[in-house]
């Protein structure tokens, strides 16, 4: 079998193993190892399997991953999700569709802390769905706003996705964090516009909830201001060049522990559960990194990337045809896998092609993360839809019918990011340090 064909077969084998419940990192690693052995011989495989796990974890820049995970875990375990939802609902819950808007806002804020769209949808779903049902919201609007809102936080820093993309492509993590801010806020705005549009068409699906007094709103603010300050210090410190990303992550993790202690919540049980959750999430992320590292050895050996570039050039495609094909590819893949796995599985092959067509790497990182998240809510197999079915017992068809306006909002966001690359590149260009 020729190298590039073997490479494509390798992608197919990884997807087949994933479909058969093999964890993503293991699927990539075992196919990569077998493929490399077939391509370069089994004796050189010993070096790849011996070095890859070490080299995939050893770089000091990767230390931001467990530290930011720890920050998110402890901020989340101290009731942040409920506080954030209460706060946003106190301000806008009295509007028609206000609780769905609050769900979007709280999801964006909590997702920024938590970093996982599935976890955000599950966590906010448990809080927001009962509240919306109590106020007689239509299930389609309620479930769709939770599923869609879950995807927002991945764009808003500190984002593990951007850390991984930055490390895999050797782009500055601080700039990627900052690059995600405007597209992330744009996503929040467009989702809120989608809710307003739905309410404008059918006002009965999102009745107004009770109005909260300014006293209640201020109480809500008091519950979250410390976390907001912590985030301000972490992100502001990086933006202004006070800290390296690793130091900012350490400040964030330490700060989250201190805030939990000051709030009297850092019990032995919470500490143990938080540490084990951090350990589990960290191991999960790095297992995929290790698998991707082995798989990328195999891809390099097959020469698939260069063949893809040559093939696309042979087709005579321009930049935007390539971009359109990539958009379709990532949305399709996003229906089957989580965004982290998608990025790690494909970036080795796709990134050189993207660079060869002259796309800005920071801008492409933002686009890639946006695209992979769209798949998470695209029926029939978007993973956030399944999470909602599990959390709330809402039928998949119901969620799928409600989600369409949000997918429309996402498509519009992608179009805007493509048409106006400054959305992703303007802020990073103004960073100091």
């Amino acid at each position: 079998m020729e190298g590039p064909i073997l490479g494509l077969a390798g992608f197919g084998a990884v997807l087949a193993l994933i479909a058969l419940r093999v964890p993503v990192g293991i699927a990539m690693g075992s196919v990569g190892a077998l493929g490399y052995g077939l391509t370069y011989g089994w004796s050189s495989l010993a070096f790849v399997l011996g070095r890859s796990p070490f080299d995939a974890v050893f770089p000091v820049s990767l230390s931001v991953v467990p530290l930011f995970v720890m920050m998110g875990v402890f901020a989340g375990r101290t009731g942040l999700s409920q506080s954030l939802y209460n706060l946003v609902a106190a301000f806008i819950g009295h509007l028609r569709g206000g609780l769905a808007l609050a769900t979007i806002g709280a999801s964006a804020l909590f997702g920024a802390v938590c970093g996982s769209s599935i976890a955000t949808a599950a966590t906010i779903g448990r809080i927001a769905l009962p509240e919306m049902r109590r106020h007689h919201y239509d299930d389609r609007l309620a479930a769709a706003s939770v599923a869609a809102g879950g995807t927002l936080g991945v764009m808003i820093p500190p984002s593990i996705m951007f850390v991984i993309y930055g490390l895999m492509t050797e782009n500055p993590i601080g700039k990627l964090f900052v690059a995600g801010i405007l597209p992330g806020l744009l996503g929040v705005g467009l989702y809120m516009a989608a809710v307003r549009w739905l309410i404008w068409r059918r006002p009965a699906i999102g009745p107004a909830a009770e109005r909260h007094s300014w006293g209640e709103r201020l109480r809500g603010l008091r519950q979250v201001w410390q976390v907001v300050v912590l985030f301000g210090v972490v992100l502001g410190g990086m933006y202004l060049g006070w800290f390296s990303p690793t130091e900012a992550a350490a400040v964030g993790a330490f700060g989250a522990l201190v805030l939990a202690a000051l709030g009297g919540q850092l019990s032995r049980e919470l500490l143990a559960k938080g540490l084990l959750e951090t350990a589990g999430t960290t191991a999960m992320i790095f297992m995929i990194l290790i698998g991707a590292s082995v798989f990328n050895f195999f891809l390099d050996a097959t020469g698939l990337t260069h063949s893809m570039i040559d093939y696309v050039r042979h087709l005579g495609w321009g930049r935007f045809e390539v971009l359109a094909a990539l958009c379709a590819f990532y949305i399709l893949l996003g229906c089957l896998m989580d965004s982290l796995s998608i990025v790690l599985l494909t970036i080795g092959a796709v990134y050189p092609m993207v660079r060869s067509f002259g796309f800005d790497p920071i801008w492409f990182g933002v686009l890639l993360v946006t695209l992979s998240e769209i798949g998470m809510i695209t029926p029939p197999v978007g993973m956030n839809l399944f999470v909602l079915r599990g959390v709330a017992g809402i039928r998949l068809e119901t969620i799928a019918r409600g989600i369409l306006p949000f997918i429309g909002a996402d498509v519009l966001r992608v179009a805007l990011i493509v048409a106006f690359p400054l959305l992703a590149t303007w802020l990073p260009a103004r960073m100091t340090g």
Partner: protein, 164 residues
């Protein structure tokens, strides 16, 4: 799964390994915090923060790995096989577990060969001169324990067919 005595023992061991890894990460975090505080206040920087951070992260990642295998934390796609008949689903889960166990065992074995080379060469970290074998230790322990954990999880799932 939780009522299986072998699984419970494995879970306890994996938890302690994970706590040890998290202790190393917290140590690295504290070193970074003290370094920032000292640098911003008295202009003094701790020597070797990078070496210590790398050691903390290596420990955290690899010592946490067995727990992730036991508790099924690793990212996978399950909905495609959820509709399979129970017997076939059990076979799929067992096969997935065995692939995981074999892969982690291969990482441990070939990692050991690489670690022996670095030990023989007396390689040390750049700033503090920490022997590189200490960086390899969590990798070897974690990979080997992960292989065993993947096997235990697969066998435990086999004995608890009603859990999907």
């Amino acid at each position: 799964m939780g009522s299986d005595p072998i699984f419970r023992l494995a879970d306890r061991l994996a938890r302690w390994l994970a706590y040890a890894g998290m202790a190393l990460l917290c140590g690295a975090m504290l070193v970074l915090i003290v370094d920032i505080a000292a640098r911003k206040t008295i202009g003094f920087s701790i020597l070797g923060t990078i070496d210590l951070t790398q050691l903390g992260v290596m420990g955290c990642v690899f010592l946490a790995m067995p727990l992730a295998f036991l508790r099924g934390t690793h990212v996978g796609v399950e909905f495609l096989t959820d509709l399979l008949p129970p017997a076939l689903l059990r076979a799929v889960r067992l096969a997935a577990g065995l692939i995981g166990a074999a892969f982690m065992l291969a990482l441990a074995w070939y990692g050991l060969l690489q670690a022996q080379i670095q030990l023989a060469q007396g390689d040390k970290s750049v700033t503090l001169g920490i022997p590189m074998i200490l960086y390899w230790a969590p990798l070897l322990v974690g990979s080997l324990a992960s292989s065993a954990a993947a096997l235990v999880a697969a066998l435990a799932a086999l004995r608890a067919p009603q859990e999907r």
